[in-house]
């Protein structure tokens, strides 16, 4: 399998069991399917039910999927690691989703802890790059040496570490004034620094060749802190703070909107009528913004009307406070109620069962809540009037 961003597809799927959070799977009963195209791709099925996880590699067709993610290995690994913006990949069609997209945006992130790639191979350069930050000035008092490293083989290079007056610096290439020069293969250099190879044994067996002041070579060991893999990985930790504000609000309706809400209780739509242009406004408003006059006359509109436009909504934004997402698709409709001025539409929803049939020009009627209290909840939706 090809590696992207230091990970393979298998790494991600095989680590799912370890990363699974049963506490995030409360009440989840879903099958997430992954159809990852290409020679180095594959198909996986991740089932979650009763707070238990099952990850399977699938040959042949994916079945029973609640949601299917269709993409390629590079995009999938990049998105998993945060190297590729998920939204961008989705927008540009590099990721396609079939099925309940809400499972991906709302449920999936709760099911697993973040994937981290396997430790990357340490190179000689990684070690040299951290020399200055691992330098311990307190152990280098009065020391004035130049240590040359001649690292051969794949991933090798030549560097000089200069220690003088309690400061340490590194430059590329071998300094002509090296106090001591150590020559070894890159694998040996990395192994020594990671503590996987014994220094004395390496020297004795000839894997490390030392030229110049042997004492300086011994001295150098004590002047630096041990190299840690973590030093190169978490170079800079970026912290972000999370907060969730929730504000309880009260809004005064005023007498005009008060009349509107009162009307809803009686299954009536009250509009104001402009004394100058005759425009009806629904919901009613005290002022006609066009004529800049007060409207004191109310007229009753509808309750039936004619649809002008329909907005079929396939993507509902999650409620920012609760994370709840409305069921999709739902449809918003613009309706000119009987008796309304022709430019003044009223907006509401159409009954779920009517979504597929509703067309501009159709007649609709309101459906009311059984118990009406003077709230937006009194009007449930409109339905086709037939």
């Amino acid at each position: 399998m090809t590696e992207y961003y230091g990970s393979k597809l298998e790494d991600i799927f095989n680590s799912m069991e370890d990363r699974f959070r049963p506490e995030g799977a409360e009440g989840v009963d879903a099958i997430f399917c992954y159809d990852i195209a290409g020679e180095d791709g594959g198909k996986w099925q991740v089932s979650v039910k009763d707070k238990e996880l099952r990850v399977e590699k699938v040959e042949g067709n994916l079945k029973g999927c609640s949601v299917t993610i269709i993409t390629d290995p590079e995009t999938f690994i990049g998105v998993t690691l945060g190297k590729i913006d998920a939204g961008e990949a989705f927008s540009s069609g590099k990721i396609k989703v079939d099925g309940d997209i809400g499972l991906l945006t709302n449920i999936l992130p709760k099911l697993f802890t973040k994937y981290t790639p396997p430790a990357k191979d340490v190179t000689s350069k990684d070690i040299i790059d951290t020399v200055v930050e691992r330098f311990r000035a307190d152990k280098a008092e009065g020391i004035d040496i130049v240590i040359g490293y001649d690292i051969t083989g794949e991933g090798g290079g030549k560097w000089s570490v200069i220690v003088k007056d309690g400061y340490c610096s590194v430059k590329e290439g071998l300094d002509p004034n090296c106090t001591v020069t150590m020559q070894m293969d890159a694998k040996v250099f990395v192994g020594l620094n990671l503590g996987l190879i014994d220094g004395t044994a390496a020297f004795t067996s000839g894997k490390v060749k030392i030229e110049g002041d042997m004492g300086a070579a011994a001295l150098s060991a004590g002047m630096f802190e041990r190299f840690k893999v973590g030093v190169i990985e978490g170079a800079e930790e970026l912290i972000s703070l999370k907060c969730l504000p929730s504000i309880d609000q009260r809004f005064a309706t005023g007498p005009v909107m008060g009349k509107w809400f009162d009307g809803l209780k009686e299954k009536k739509f009250y509009a104001t009528k402009c004394p100058v242009c005759g425009r009806t406004q629904i919901p009613p408003r005290e002022i006609c913004a066009l004529c800049r006059v007060r409207c004191t006359d109310f007229v009753e509109l509808g309750p039936k009307g004619t649809v002008t436009l329909i907005d079929d909504v396939y993507y509902a934004s999650p409620d920012p406070l609760t994370g709840e997402v409305r069921e999709t698709p739902y449809a918003g409709v613009y309706i000119v109620l009987d008796g309304a001025s022709e430019e003044e539409a009223f907006a509401h929803e159409i009954k779920k069962e009517d979504i597929d049939r509703i067309k501009p020009g159709m007649r609709v009627r309101p459906v009311w809540a059984e118990k009406r209290v003077g709230s937006y909840k009194d009007l449930l939706y409109f339905e086709i009037d037939e």
Partner: protein, 399 residues
Amino acid sequence: MANKKKNRNVAIIGIGQTEYSSHKEHQNQAEMVNEAVRRALDDARITMDDVDCVMHGNMELFEMVYQPDLWHEIGTGAYGKEEIRITTGGTTGASLVCAADNLVASGMYDVILAVGLEKLQEGHTTGGITNMADPLWFRHLQTGALTGTTAQEMIEEFGEDRAKRAAMKYRIMMDKHACLNPRAHRRFGLEYDQMDDLMNTSPKLVGELRLIHMCSQSDGACVMVFASEEKAKKLCKHHPPVWIRDHITVHREETLPNLFGFKKPEMTQRYAARKLFERNGIKDPVEYFDVFEMYDPSAWWGLDWLREFLLLKGDEHIKMLEEGEFDLDGKLPVNPSGGVTATNPIGATAMLRPAEAALQIRGDAGEHQLERNVRHALASGFGGTFWTVLIMLEKDLNW
């Protein structure tokens, strides 16, 4: 001076932008602002000592950081100076330019530094937009800024295939422009031969408004420095000043449904263009302007509004698009920067339009610089329930 009420001429003398992206975890809001401020001051070759007044604009409810002008003080450099905050929805950035124009023209200030910014990833844009709707009635029905009504109307008017193709061509054209702009947020590398695929496979949001048609949510800041004619001539040694000829803002009611009755009212875009061109003696805007930086929140809206802004009739705007007249080498290039579908840091978005238009006039836009001599530029802002700001910029002070 065409707008006879203007007391003195006003120039844009400095522009600074951050790069735009959805990943600005490396800096906080004030730091992001400061990056753009430093770039604008460098561009104008001035220091904060030269600035009389700072203007700050964003949509604070998107980040839910209130009094952001105070929070961002260390970034804007406004400490101890006069500062004015502006928040007018999508038009915020353009409103900043209008207000700066007014204030410098009035003689109140000689040099103004205006900051437009947004860090959308730190808040909840749709939550913010929903909370702008009338809390008494419309809020529970609001779907953020998404609507498919324009797509539906255009399909009705021009036929399904032609309308869908035109909207997708517009989108791909904008992506091609954005790919030339290293600061642009979304740069997909779309090709025209993907049109059929995208028309059918891009996820539907609302009606025929698909994900690919819609603008991004970006983080970033844009800063502009404005100066009176006298100051501009003294300060601008390294690049020419760009003159603000005139601007207009057109507001409307807070309700949307009254746009979708049996009779459609005149759109604010057309009203603004009609009034602005009339008082400046512009008979044929397509002929007159060399570039148009338009606030286009979606491909459908962008294409539809070209008809309004350019006072076109019937399918003239679609024909122009089909014939490549809005391309970089077309009759009237639209959004060489890539526009709003590519980059949308809301409080900065409407400022980016005149800022990018001014860079085109200066010849400093970079890779997306037009080859022609750009002398006359048009820039628009859009906000809320379809209100409009329209700004005219000029290379020469000769109108």
